[in-house]
Symmetry: C2
Subunit: 394 residues, 2 copies
């Protein structure tokens, strides 16, 4: 096991109706001036907007709405103007990963006097800044942003979708599974695949150890089991709760301690989202089985076999178990009723494959840092394999 540091100070309030008693104090402890960040109209339709506002009585609330999926730097810039103009003390982010990601960069931007896109291009800059406390109410189980320092921000002008980190994870995260009852089947499936992918990016690492491998195997099994339940029965509390807590546990820094490799599938998917604005989790679901198939080799076989045994409960030779696990991964994603090919999400030709591949290799440092190092040609091969389901459906 490699040396590592770990600390995560986020306070979690988990469960049904936890905002009712605890939200006011969680926000007000940090000051009077609140920037309330949210997405479209869904929290107004659901009544969550009114419920939140009633808890903010007595505080000065400024609103920033219309944060889009794959949140855009324009929203962060708008937020920067507001936190400076209104001397904001605390940000309250209500929504999914996009809203919270944007809020976390806005939180740093108060202390930066130039374009916050700089803070995305160079996360080292964010670590040198102070950061407003962020309180969030999560409405989608997926990204894990509710308990980590990361954000992913898109810049449509430059076709870039980039990750950045900051000094602090959210101060307080409210995780109420009932707020995800209204999440569509599409977004529920995409969120579950996102969690699955976070685990995969961390599980396949050359410095994996027994403790984190075992914890991840348990998280995998919880997601694999509960995603179909939540799709079939959207109001199933325990299934929604399992997905929500698994999303948090899978990306709060606990399960990758000591890891040495960077991620592979996310950087490739970020290119797809940047060029085609597809749903992140669906893109991951298309790419992941192809990445697995492409990465399986004599060298990686033992790890894929371990994956098959402890995650998918398969038995047999290493070769049989590894192949079975990759097929099982595809079958699980397919059963979530999302497209499993690039044409299925409207990417019908290979026009941008080369330029996307080159960018993914560069941004993701895939040639140096990936579990299986990759050049642009390897990424093009993975993208090409995703044009059909032929490898998985005979």
């Amino acid at each position: 096991m490699n040396n590592f540091k770990f600390q995560n100070k986020t306070a979690i309030q988990f469960g049904k109706d936890v905002i009712d008693n605890a939200l006011h104090d969680a926000v007000a402890q940090f000051g009077q001036n609140v920037l309330f960040v949210y997405g479209g109209g869904s929290i107004k339709k659901s009544g969550l907007y009114d419920r939140v506002m009633s808890k903010l009585a007595g505080l000065t609330v400024v609103e920033l709405s219309d944060i889009a999926p794959n949140p855009k730097i324009a929203s962060v810039r708008a937020g920067q103007d507001l936190v400076k103009a209104h001397d904001i003390d605390v940000i309250l982010a209500v929504g999914g990963g996009s809203v919270i990601d944007a809020a976390k960069v806005i939180a740093s931007s108060k202390f930066y006097d130039a374009d916050p896109w700089d803070l995305v291009l160079d996360s080292g800059k964010r670590y040198q800044l102070d950061q407003l406390p962020v309180v969030d109410i999560l409405t989608l189980s997926a990204t894990g942003t509710e308990m980590n320092v990361g954000s992913v921000i898109s810049n449509p002008e430059t076709h870039q979708k980039l990750g950045t980190g900051g000094p602090q994870s959210p101060a307080v995260s409210f995780l109420d599974p009932t707020l995800t009852y209204t999440v569509s089947k599409w977004q529920t499936a995409a969120g579950a695949i996102d969690i699955f992918s976070h685990l995969t990016e961390q599980y396949f690492d050359r410095s994996a150890n027994d403790v984190t491998s075992g914890m991840m195997a348990g998280l995998y099994r919880a997601v694999i089991k509960n995603a179909p339940i939540a799709l079939a029965d959207p109001d199933n509390y325990d299934a929604r709760a399992a997905l929500m807590w698994a999303s948090t546990m899978s990306l709060n820094g606990l399960v990758n301690v000591g890891n040495i490799n960077g991620w592979t599938v996310h950087p490739i998917e970020h290119e797809l989202s940047a060029y085609y604005d597809i749903t992140h989790g669906v893109g991951l679901g298309i790419l992941t089985p192809r990445w697995m198939q492409y990465s399986l080799s004599a060298e990686t076989l033992p790890r894929f076999a371990q994956f098959g045994r402890e995650v998918w409960d398969l038995t047999g030779t290493d070769e049989v178990v590894a192949q079975g696990a990759i097929q099982a991964t595809f079958d699980w994603i397919k059963a979530l009723d999302v497209p499993t090919t690039l044409p299925g999400v409207g990417i019908v030709d290979k026009t941008h494959f080369e330029v996307m591949a080159e960018s993914a290799v560069k941004v993701g440092r895939l040639a140096q840092a990936a579990y299986v190092p990759m050049q642009a040609a390897d990424v093009v091969a993975i993208l090409s394999a995703a044009m059909t389901d032929d490898d998985f459906i005979q």
Copy 2:
């Protein structure tokens, strides 16, 4: 899943030689006056004492040594005198669970003006007090105290061994697996059994959920695999590291979120330790298989079967898997080369069984809170079953 709150601010520094670069600043950030708490002469023999003192150069260091296993309230009282007399700013605890447990109560006792045994009898009192920051260097993988708020303190005069909690977990914990290379086979085995028991106390809960069950299953497997490796090859870094990180992860509040039941085997073992001063982990190893055997019923069968499948990788009917898992637990403990009966640790008659059972039921609230509720007669039956190995070795 039940509602829960979770927050744990402990900063972890994990790995070989992490104290060399980081210890000074970790301590000095809190002030000039340090109380250095440790046990017997082992850290002097190993050179750790000198290594630590060299990192404390420039700080004012007061020492409190001779903290015994099953730490006694007399040590806490001595520590209280020192933190008040020397206006201590920070406590550095170097040792195993006993040393760190004592340090955590001493940390509260600075702000209490009467006998600190009060803080053990009523942990509510500790939560109302301030607490000095505790920095620790762990030398034994077992109790998990390095990342939680709990302590267990013994009072030989009253035959009491009681748990207490405080407001803060350690501020910084240094976990260097190489510092456990010199831990004896006896203490290594006892520590591994302690971790196994912490998982068991939390795994068998009527509000268990998929996420924490899966994470615990992974931690169980890491301990089951690595304890025999560490016994056979004491300098095996990865095995020592797995035990160390598993001990921390198993009792830092993460794997029992939403649980409703209290613990059972620990309160019973605390009676044994209080009356006979036996090694805590060895006592747990003697009691655990008997507790399992006694608790298996039609009602609990599904959970024991799940335990058999996801922890011990057993297959078959629920009944076969559950019985197999209990036997496997016994066999694993036996293979660690520790006594598996009460006479094996010198408890040769049933003199105190009744009074210990009554105290365990009262202190542990076993009739109200246990996974399988127990009266004194049930505890006596478990203790009696532990007089021989007949149930497990034919």
